[in-house]
Structures are given as structure tokens and as C-alpha cells.
Symmetry: C2
Subunit: 546 residues, 2 copies
Amino acid sequence: MRVAGAAAALALAPFALAPMPALADGLIDNVNGMTIGRDGQIERFTGLVIGKDGRVVSLLKARDKRPERPDFRHDGQGRTLIPGLIDAHGHVMELGFKAIQLDLTEARSLDEAKAMIAAYAAANSDRAWIIGTGWNQEKWGLGRFPTNADLDQAVSDRPVWLVRVDGHAGWANSAAMKAAGVTADTKAPAGGRIEAGVFVDAARELIERAIPAPLPRERDLALSKAQGILIANGVTAVADMGSTTDDWNVFRRAGDAGVLKVRIISYSAGIDPLLAVAGAGPTPWLYDDRLRMVGMKLYADGALGSRGAWLKAPYADDHHQTGLGLLSDAKLRNLMVRAAMDGFQVATHAIGDRANDQVLGAIEELSETFKGDRRWRIEHAQIVDPGDLPRFARHGIIASMQPVHQTSDRLMAEARLGTARLQGAYAWESMRRQGTPIAFGSDMPVEHPNPFAGLAAAISREDADGEPLGGWQPQERVSREAALAGFTTGAAYAGFAEDRIGRLAPGYRADFLILDTDPLQSTMAELRATRVLETWIGGERVHAVK
Amino acid sequence: MRVAGAAAALALAPFALAPMPALADGLIDNVNGMTIGRDGQIERFTGLVIGKDGRVVSLLKARDKRPERPDFRHDGQGRTLIPGLIDAHGHVMELGFKAIQLDLTEARSLDEAKAMIAAYAAANSDRAWIIGTGWNQEKWGLGRFPTNADLDQAVSDRPVWLVRVDGHAGWANSAAMKAAGVTADTKAPAGGRIEAGVFVDAARELIERAIPAPLPRERDLALSKAQGILIANGVTAVADMGSTTDDWNVFRRAGDAGVLKVRIISYSAGIDPLLAVAGAGPTPWLYDDRLRMVGMKLYADGALGSRGAWLKAPYADDHHQTGLGLLSDAKLRNLMVRAAMDGFQVATHAIGDRANDQVLGAIEELSETFKGDRRWRIEHAQIVDPGDLPRFARHGIIASMQPVHQTSDRLMAEARLGTARLQGAYAWESMRRQGTPIAFGSDMPVEHPNPFAGLAAAISREDADGEPLGGWQPQERVSREAALAGFTTGAAYAGFAEDRIGRLAPGYRADFLILDTDPLQSTMAELRATRVLETWIGGERVHAVK
């Protein structure tokens, strides 16, 4: 049988020339199967027949006859089987790089942190720089920032650079300062501050510009790690929002070597990689539908936390600011035209209501010229003027949203926006009811890639602790079916992939999960704690827990 | 039958998603077939059986039984059939770009040139700049350089930039000067001169820096043109000497679209594209052995014509110069180590005897560390100190040489080197007799890619006019068999491809040519004039003349 096993899936790095296991006709039987059907309703089945080509042959009801002699038969033991989940907005390589860096989140004292740093350095003797994140001196009872001298005690033979949990400061050892040419005389740039090895805000760049680019094998390892994490979490396809040419080359190396399992729908980081890689039109689907560059990612504004989101009216907690648009109207249109004229899809990040308004306006104008099935995407579509909400559906603009952002950010959103402006914030159900195509994702690694947390947030608008009970702005909760659609058929449609993934139906790729939880029946706590027992991609089992 | 036809091969641009024709079992019969056998001797056959996978099934002698019912049977009408020729040193994209630029070589007057320029501009209305080459005012009876005002009369709506036949000057129109910010006040840089629209030597850069990078579709078109030219000339595989990341992306787009026919063995332009593209080791063979990045190209020196070749003793025609080494010993070794440590092959350009000595020394030193089958290549190996010749064979270093360079450059070589130093110049037979692995190529587009001109030069050391009769330094002529091996088995070996191409034998790719000339029997004039009647790659006919 074609069961590759979790060990094989996780042992992908460094990419070796591993042959794909021989495919076979198979039957997954005795399951509580569900998929979104062609009519948008839940379709149920108890058996799934897979062909040698890794595609679905048929769904079987309890009463249907089973194939007589499949090459293999897999007993689902009555467990729940759903289509592989699709993350419509993530950052694959960043997820992988974060996974191979040192994580100091759990360090409870400076001494514990130093021990973790030293152990990591010893285990990674081939890394020229030790890079890490997650430290928080507030938890250490230290009463001060740590210093480069503290860090030298852990590692002195190589540069070390550790970013604080909030991302606003970095902690360097003396070797890193030396490598960066920083001395006692170095002055912090405007907007930055230096305190004995800790570089705050704009001063971070003094060290970061000296960090060497990752080696090819580090990039390959990062992809392998990211893939392992995604597969273990039940994500079988992801829209990579901002692929560089280097990222693309890593994806291709994995594809060429036959070790790319997760499907990557790639949106280039701006126009340059799009033209360099894809050229005069989207690439074909490569590696049996595992990779395609379909379009371009742009940024219209920043984020709410740093007050970079571009608002129509000033921030409630800072009346002097409305955030910042990153592209002029003309520049935004020029970039969109450049991509659209060659048939590329455009996905534009817009968080604030002014940014959403700007992008909606550009799309409305361009829709006059670029007819046909364009599927303009707005990424996040987080704070939308209620009066602008109908503009999405009117042009079939895809709202690509990340449910967990709502539960993570609600208190900040209230502070930034005040209560009056919350009506169009994370307005999933309003969008859906108006006919806006919805795609759900995680924005990993900004949030954890676990899509079951996303499903629970979409359904309940309660956070991981069940707060607030009944949900925040509960009128914007979506049904269980709509949540599942957002992570399956909706996410597939958003990536021009709805003809091959996102559903289980004859001819579709056999991407599916076997779960210990039924997402249409479970409590929210159960849903968030769902265990992905098996992940199958293209008819091959790429993850299993015992 | 699987005959795709010349039209299909030439109609590749712009790359469309064309399915490969269905492959079939076939018999090419009634041919005067020849290939280099496993023993290095000529092996003869009259029939060739091809499998559905595009590989050779068997060679048949006249007395051998033919397959009874092949899917197709192709009558060779007694013509000569040889393996597809491999160009061991060429520049694929440059060949293509040259082919899509305006060629003014045939213009016999300024008025003729202007008419050709205007016609080309009209036919290429989508090109932002008109780029051309080949003009020579000496042929025009003009008594002066042409001017920007002359050129404005042909094209004034867009920038035009035309490089003189010798490459040492460029002719701009007023729009090009304006686009480049050049005014009447602009001073020529040191080493350059400006004369009313003509920019000599170092002054060329004033205009050239303003020329936009090619659009993706122009790059795709250039590859398509290059492929068409190569296939029509009987070249079925080529070592691309210095692929940029952009070049690689073009090759991949063609491969992904199924329109890459010619086989490209890619050597990166220095270390950066090597690490970006191939990463931690050579890529696999892609697209049924049509593309692989196997290693890196370096430059140890320049060329003889410009006295950039690095010599041990001063130039005979300029006693103050010995040319120039482009890399220090340390830098050369560092780059070679960086590539070799990840298993990459290294191909280093060395023209002068001092440059060859430097590269030989580096290889000798590195061979202590990097054992195994490394196949270090020296590109051109043009002027070698006779005392250094044995160093090639001693370390199995491949001499990758271009026979037509000898016939083109012999008078210049005599002038530059004097007669005393010619003993190790283009020393093909000396190299071969000492056991040096030889690979032959064209250096296209510096020379025409026609490999039959290369075969004739290798065998005769006479130029296209048969001069000098009996050959220049005739002791370095090679046998017909050795010449053929240089363009087949030798070139395949030089690219780590001898297990799949370069010969016709069971399991090898069915790459072959049908010719109107027998290269083992013909006169040199006949050999140079050989017509490639059909070119087959991987069992598919990709070129045919009626």
C-alpha cells in the first residue's frame, strides 16, 4: 500500500532524490466522510476510492458496493475524514525559517536563556550566525535588558542575534557587534536606541544588515520544516503570499527532487519576481499540481498594531494619525495593470478602511479594461467601511481573511478603532451574505498555522480561552459549513484551483485528513484541539500519528 | 508517426502549452548510420529502432531482422545518419538575442542601412528600443561616421542603438541620447569618444546603461529563436557557458510548457546563480534530460584580439603587455572550492598560456582535496605552453576547444604571439595524443553555431576558403573520427552526459541527424556545406527540410 508514514514525510531534509512511492488503487473505508459538494452543501460518504494517479475515483455511501480487489484497503475505524485544508494566506519560507531558529519563548530566566542559547549553538555548529527570537526580560525578574556580555557567556565564537518577543529589539553578542562593525562609538540612528548589546527599533538595522543570506541548504531545510509543520496540522495546500525568486528556486528544488508534498500556490513578492519567474503569464501547474505561480502580492498599507493600517479617520487611541498608504493610486494601478495585462492574478494587502477603499477603487477602475475571470483578491480586508462592504461582491473580489487575527487582535482593534467603527471589522458574515467569495487562512507564521484554530474562531469568534463567551461581534460568526468552505472550496477558488483541490469528488486530487474530531459536531474547545491523525496528499499518506 | 515537422519546431514562440506528440515505436531504416561505439571506434548500422520512450532500442546491421510492425517506419533513402551533435561551449540566450536584433551586415550604403532600420522598427512596433549590430561605414563610401541626425531620419519615435561590426562603437539616435540623459555637454569618459551620435569604446556605456532589461516575452522569443537555429544546424545539445538566473528561468519556462527541445547543460555565470538556482548540488536532469545545471563557469582571462588573454611573455605585437589575469590565485581557488565542495563541476575560461598555467595550478592543488570524478574543464585552452600540455591529461582535465576559432584567428594569433609560441596554440592533436579528454564547440554566437564548419576546421585546419592549403600548423589536425567524437561522445563526457547522449546505443536518447553528406567520406568543402535534412531529439523529429 501507498502509506509513506510520518517519518518519511518529516525526513525530507536535506532534499534527497527520493522516488515517489508507487501509486495504487485504494479504498479508504468506514469513515465519517464529508466534503463541500458542488451545490455548496455538505456531502457525506463512508468510503473513498482512490486511483493510481492519486485522484479520487468515487465517494461511496454506506449502501454502495465496494471495489472488489483494491491494491490496498484502509479502515478509517469510523473516524472523520475531511478534504485537506487550504491556507489561503501564509508565508511558507518564513514559517520554515522561524522553525529552524532558536525559540526562547519558554526561557524563564536569563540563566535558562543562556543555557538554551549555548545548547542550540552546540547543536548547530554549521551555522555561521545564531539567530533566534522570543526572549522577554520582563519574565526574567532581571529589572534590566540583558547585555552583550551576558550573551558572550553563552556563545562567544560566533555572532548571535536574538529578537525580542515583540519584534522591537534585538540582542547581540560581541561577535555580532564586531561583524557588523558596531563599536562603543556607534550612534543609534533616528528612531533607534542602543543599550549595551540591545538594539531597539531603528537601531536593529545596524546589526541586521550584517547577517549573511541563508545558504541554499538552510533554505531547503526551512522549506522541509515548514512542509512538515503544515502537513502535521492538516494543511495540504497553501497560498504563499510574497514568494521571492529565491523562495521559488527552493520550491523548485524540492519539486525537482520529488520531495515537495504540500501544494504551493505562489504569489510573487511584487512585480520583479513575477516577471523573472513566470514571465509572460502564470506558470503551468507543476509537479502534479503541487506548485504554480499564479499572480502577485502587493501591500497597500501596514498593520493595526503599529498603527500602519491606513484609516479613513484618525486612530481612536492617537488622534494625530491615520496610518499610511504605501502606494499612490497611480503606482497601485500601474502595478496591477502590469500584472493583469499578462493574465496574472493580483492579491493586495489592505488592513485599514482607507486602504480597502483605495484597492476597491483601483479594482473598480481596472475592471473596465480587464474583463473575464480576474478574481482580484484583497488580503486581510480587516477594517472595511460598512458602506464599502457591497463593493466586494459587486466585482467578485475575493476577501482573503484570517479568522485568528480577529481573536488575537480584538482588544487592540477596540483600542485603535473605538467601538463606533467595529461594524465593518472582520466582517465575515456580512461579506458572505452579500455574496463575497471568502477565503480563510492563518497568515502563518504571524499566527500559528493550525487551521482548526481558524475554523473555531470563524464559527465562534471566541478565542482559545473561550473569550468572550458567545463571541465578539457575534453577528459576524459564520456557520460551520461556511467556515469549512473558507478553508477548502473558498480557498481553492481564491487560487484558481477549484477544479482540482478543495473538494473530494471524482477527478480531484485525493488530498484529505483523518481526524479524531468531527468539525460539524464538536464543541469549540474540541475543534481547537483536533488531532490530525493522518494527512494524505495526492493519494499518498504523508503524515500519521500512532 | 511521430514526425513533428520543421514548422512545428520553428513555431515555438511564444511558448504555448503544446502537448508533446504521442511517442511510438519506430524504425528508421535504409541509412548509412554511424556512431562512436563504446570502444571509441566508428560503429556502423543501417537501421535504428526507437522505443515509445524516445530512446534507442537497437542498431541494426543490413542482415538484421527488422521489427515486424513498428508504429512507424521512416525510409532514410540511403542517407547518412549520425548522432545529434553536441556543442560543448555556447551561449544560448546571446545567440537568440542576436537573432532577434537588427542585423546591418548586408547594408551597402547609409541609405540602405536607414531603410533596413525603418523596416525593422515598423515590424517590431512592440519593442521599446531598437537594438542592432553589424554596421560598417567603411563599406558605405561615406568618408565619415554616420550621425544621430542620419538615424533620426529612419526612426525618431523610439530609441535606437546600433553597435558597429567590430563591437567598438555604437550609433544612437536622438531619442536614445535623450533616454540616456546625454546632451551636447556630456563629456566622454576616459577611454571613450563621442562623435555626433557615435559613442566609441568606453563612451558606449553612456547609452548602454539606459537600455531596459529585456521583457520576459523577449527572452522567451530569444530562446525559441536560438533553439530553432541550433536544431536546424544539427545541434541537439549544448553546454550553456554562463547561465544567469534569468536565463535559467527562461529555460524552465520552456521546459514547463513542453517546448524545450534542445538539451541544455547549464554552467552558471559565476557562483551566485549556481547557489540561487541549483543550491546544494547539481540539479537533477529535468524534462527528459533536456536541462540540468551541473556546474559553474569562471573567467581566468580575456581574449586574444583585445590583448586581454594573459600570456607568460609579452605580446609579440605589443612588448609592453602580457594581458590580464581576472582572478587572483586565491580568489580562483576560493570560487572553485565553493563549487566543488557541493559537487559542482567547474569550467574556467583560459585563453593565454599564463591563464592556462594558473588554472592548471589551481586544479592540481584542489585535486588533492576533491577526489573522484570531478572533470575540471578548461574552456578554450587556446594558447598553452607546450611544457604545460601534459598537465591536462595528468588530471583528466577536459580541454573544451572551438575549432573554428583557430581558422578565424590564425593570422591574429601569429601577430599576437609570433611564430615561436605557436606550438601550443590550438594544440588539439597534441592534447588528444597525450590522453586529454577533448570536447569541441562553437562559442556561438561569437562564431556561427554550424558544427559542420567546426568538424571541417578540426579535421583540416583550413578555413572556409580552404586556406591555408593543407592546414595551419597541420600537425594539430585531428582524424575525422576524433573530430566527430569531439562533437559527440567527448562533448557528452565533458557535461557528465555520456550515459544518455552523444552516442546511438540501446538506452540512449534517440537524438540523431539525417544528412546529405557523409562526414567520414566528404571533401572539406562538402563537409562545411552539409545540409541537415532532419533533426530528431528524443525520438521526435523537430526539424526537416523538404
